[in-house]
Amino acid sequence: MRQEWLRFGGVLVVALLGLGLFREYRLRKEVEISTENQYQRAFQEVVYHLDGLEQELGKATAAGSMTQTAKAFADAWRHSESARASIGQLPISNVPLSSTENFLARVAAFTYTVSQRSPSGAALTDREWSILRDLHKQARFAADELAKMGRAFSAGALRWTDVQRDVAAAAATRPDRVPRRTPSNQVTKSFKMLEDGMTRFPSPDFEGVIPPPRKKLPTIPGPEIGTDEAVRVASDFIGPEVLAGRSARVISRVPSEPEAYRVEVPPARGRSNRILMDISVRGGRVLWMMDESPIGSATITPFTAEAIAAEFLESRGFSRMQQVSRQAYQGVAVIGFAYEQDGVLVYPDHVVVRVALDDGRVNGLEGTNYQVFHRLRAVKPPRVTEAQARTALNPRLDVTGVRLAIIVDDFYKEKLVYEFRGKIDGETYIVYVNADTGKEEEVKRVTPTGIETV
């Protein structure tokens, strides 16, 4: 009797274990297949979009009219952006693809910028056409390489999930210890070849043709300051009340743009109210400040915070600032200001002030834009009258206000514009009309908390 029970129990245990194992196996298989399919899709899309990009750029080299060029460029732009997105999904973090990615980003910027031109306008200049031809050659190389990869991977029954496992394992070991014969090897080698080839192509000169890929900020005028001066600037800015006996010190020199001294005000004993700020090495300006004090429950309203922020700016030498945005989140109000000169709102000279809603203290400031762009400008009177500018607007827009402003475009060129504020379907929009040409430059949506700024 007893033995029978034991046998029964044993059989049951084995059966359950087997069932459990089988279910686990099936589940894993399902997950793996769906992961595999996602990787396959990403790879196949890279192949497809590179092929499409090559074709569209080719068509554009042959097109005679701006209409056809713009058509091809609109498609090329879509292909290049999609290819970028798909490449980013492949599990090949072990292969740097900077040249390939850079190429795609540049093609996207170039084709987008040109396709924005008026379709009835002039065809490509000689310089633009030669850039296009260079890009097309590069696209052909990349498309060929990827097509080759597609054939090889498919013939070798390559599984991307194996690649992913290998790459993850390799990342955990030293590079010289990575085993040679692994499924990822073929993939790594092929993508390295693509990248090497892309690196060898000379990069066309895009200066002035596409917006600079990285912000090129103007340098702040003034001499280099020393660390003592940086500490003095920081202490004055924070003020004795907040310092409360603590002393600021320079903790490092940060190679940011612009270069800065990082100043720290250590936390008071038993508290976590450290303050960090960056003071520009050239000119000794406050680029940003942030106070780490924890924030309690709100006792003041965001409206009071606006007044506090405005007063703070005035007391710290930012004069004639106009509020342009506000937002409140997680116990703080963050308020944006722009400089006003001769009745013209200067958006590039932009400062953001953060006010704690528990005690109404200013606990953060971001003024890099203001500090690098701000200067006394020679604002010329607009060439187009307000009435003329209005004719550029959508007649359905119910205009509620207008003022002059300076905005910067993608090339960091400043433009004098009429800023029309208007309503459509209960939503507020801002429309910038160029005050020199009368052309509509930009449309922005206004949220209840402010507008999107530079």
Partner: protein, 174 residues
């Protein structure tokens, strides 16, 4: 005989528990469902802050950013949390990275917390604020594109990248 019966039952029960526990292994599908629920819940809460200003195009992604910040830098000083958010945004702006926040965050092996699934734990309140601060323009990293914790990571890839600054336990590089 009754003792033997109880023993057999105990063994069966134990195995059953083990099998069930095994199935809750983090890579199981059942957990994935839970993940999506939490994400949806968080998104509704964040809808109120969607109105929050500059860079409104990012508004639906700051919750995702907050999760990465929380999972990657929960124990870091507050500014170190803002810094992680700034690195994500610096990558979005850089030609060598995907140009959306989710694209940057879900790039394979880009963030440890994504690979391990820790980002699906509810974010700390400070991380939500840190994500917003990064979106509002603060960048304590001086334009960094990478960071690592030298105590934790085996980071031979650091070679060739430029050191910018250290905040808390993280080293930021370009």
């Amino acid at each position: 005989m009754r003792r033997a019966g109880r023993a057999a039952f105990a063994v069966v029960a134990l195995v059953a528990v083990a099998v069930i526990a095994w199935h809750r292994y983090p890579h199981g599908l059942s957990n994935g469902g839970g993940v999506r629920d939490t994400a949806a819940g968080e998104a509704t809460t964040s809808a109120r802050w969607n109105l929050a200003g500059p860079g409104q195009s990012y508004s639906y992604n700051f919750d995702l950013m907050a999760r990465v910040i929380s999972a990657e830098a929960k124990g870091e000083p507050y500014i170190g949390q803002v810094a992680v958010g700034a690195v994500i945004l610096n990558r979005v702006d850089h030609p060598n990275f995907p140009n959306t926040i989710p694209g940057v965050i879900f790039e394979p092996d880009a963030f440890t917390a994504v690979s391990t699934g820790h980002i699906w734990e509810p974010p700390a309140a400070s991380s939500v604020r840190a994500a917003q601060d990064a979106l509002a323009g603060w960048d304590p990293t001086g334009g960094a594109l990478f960071y690592y914790n030298p105590a934790k990571a085996t980071n031979w890839w650091v070679a060739g990248r430029r050191f910018i600054t250290q905040i808390g336990r993280h080293i930021f590089l370009r």
